[in-house]
């Protein structure tokens, strides 16, 4: 047997709660959209495809050695980074590649830059290289270096699965 309360409940729901719910859901969606937009508005990354087109060599490997030195004028420091190649994504490198980045530490003095890639021994990386330069340089500076951890490729706040990344490179260079 229907009661007065049963009769009121649907009206209560549809008259009062439904507009509230719709407003809240709409508001949450708006917040989410604005939040996502704000997070990506300043991004102007060099894409994988662009890097793959500009680099003549892209390798996956592990950093085995770093050696820093002053230039001939003793005014700037560079670091030669040795990478043991695990997989060639594009190009024809040897089993080991050596690349040069600006910055490093020599004899109690250090030099850092805001845009050059930095490496650490033991780090598993993917690097996009210009091997026509002697010694080789990283294309796109720090944007041309990716850290690989547990088969996840990481650059700043971006991540890819290793397979996804390799497929993107292969597609771009085709």
């Amino acid at each position: 047997m229907p009661t007065a309360r049963d009769d009121m409940a649907p009206r209560h729901v549809y008259t009062w709660y439904a507009p509230h719910r719709k407003a809240l859901i709409a508001w949450c969606n708006l917040v989410l959209i604005l939040w996502i937009c704000a997070g990506h508005a300043a991004m102007l990354n060099i894409s994988i495809e662009e890097l793959a087109r500009k680099a003549d060599t892209i390798v996956l490997g592990t950093v085995t050695q770093q050696a820093s030195a002053w230039d001939d004028q003793h005014t700037a420091i560079h670091t030669d980074v040795t990478v043991e190649v695990e997989q060639v994504l594009t190009g024809l490198p040897g089993e080991v590649v050596t690349l040069r980045v600006l910055g490093g530490v020599v004899g109690g003095v250090g030099m850092g830059t805001s845009n050059d890639a930095t490496f650490r021994v033991g780090e598993r990386v993917i690097v996009c290289l210009d091997t026509h330069a002697v010694p080789s340089t990283v294309v796109g500076m720090q944007q041309g270096k990716f850290t690989v951890e547990d088969n996840t490729v990481i650059r700043a706040d971006e991540t890819w699965s290793l397979n996804e990344f390799i497929a993107a490179v292969h597609t771009a260079v085709r």
């Binding site: 409940a9 649907p10 209560h12 729901v13 008259t15 009062w16 709660y17 439904a18 507009p19 509230h20 719910r21 407003a23 809240l24 859901i25 508001w27 949450c28 917040v31 989410l32 939040w35 704000a38 997070g39 508005a41 300043a42 991004m43 102007l44 990354n45 060099i46 004028q73 003793h74 005014t75 700037a76 600006l102 910055g103 530490v105 109690g108 003095v109 250090g110 030099m111 850092g112 830059t113 805001s114 845009n115 796109g140 500076m141 720090q142 944007q143 700043a156 706040d157």
Partner: protein, 267 residues
Amino acid sequence: MSVRYSAVMRGCVVWCGGLLLASQVLAFVRNDSNWAYMPNPMGENWVICPDRMPGDAVQRTKDGAAAWNYEHFQFTFDPEACLSNGAFGTLNSVNQIDFGPLSEGVLANTVFFFFTDAPNQTIECDMRFNSAVNWYTGTDTPAADQFDWWSVATHEMGHCLGLGHEDSINPPPVMRSTLAMGTVTRQLTPDDVAGRNSIYDAAQAPPSGSPAPSSPASSGGGGGGGGCSFVSGNPTDTAPLLAALGNMLLPVLVLVVVRVWVRRRRR
């Protein structure tokens, strides 16, 4: 039914609040070195080489530096001069900002030298803006095909004072590594302020006779200590928390308006 809808509403509010508060997390990154060891940090007489710089680039560079000024330091500029013979990124005891060629895709580059004593001490900082870029040097909004010099200057000065790139948080800080054409990031975010404060709040007080602070509104206490921290860990920097609470109150206000509207409609 009403219980279920109430739960949905509460869930929405909690979700929105969590999202907004999460976006306020601080995560600044510090460079290997800074000037905090000096009695007058950033008073190292910075020099701008104005050769071929477009429009009001010199003034915008100073504006970018001024964004960071607070009671613990002020960027001090010498009269414009070119003292590095066209060289960039070389150790020559001159903190020079110039305009010239850089790698493709780079808006500007900052090079800093430091002693590796603990804590690492910056001894020189040089900065170059890429001459191949279409720059906007005004104070309004750049066109869709221009990059904002003022924003980039603010960013690069952050490197000079000891901050690195921070790409993981919202709102995007000045120290984000990338900038889109036609956009500006001239104002420090709470993350930028916390990063600066974490380095210099504990630094030696400026000597007597040094200029008064120009931007007390941007000063704060605490700081994040070089790692991740939350706004609540910085007791004097309440702006982001208030902003988040304000955002959370907005849907409540909307609900009240909707409720009043529905009541009137029923009448």
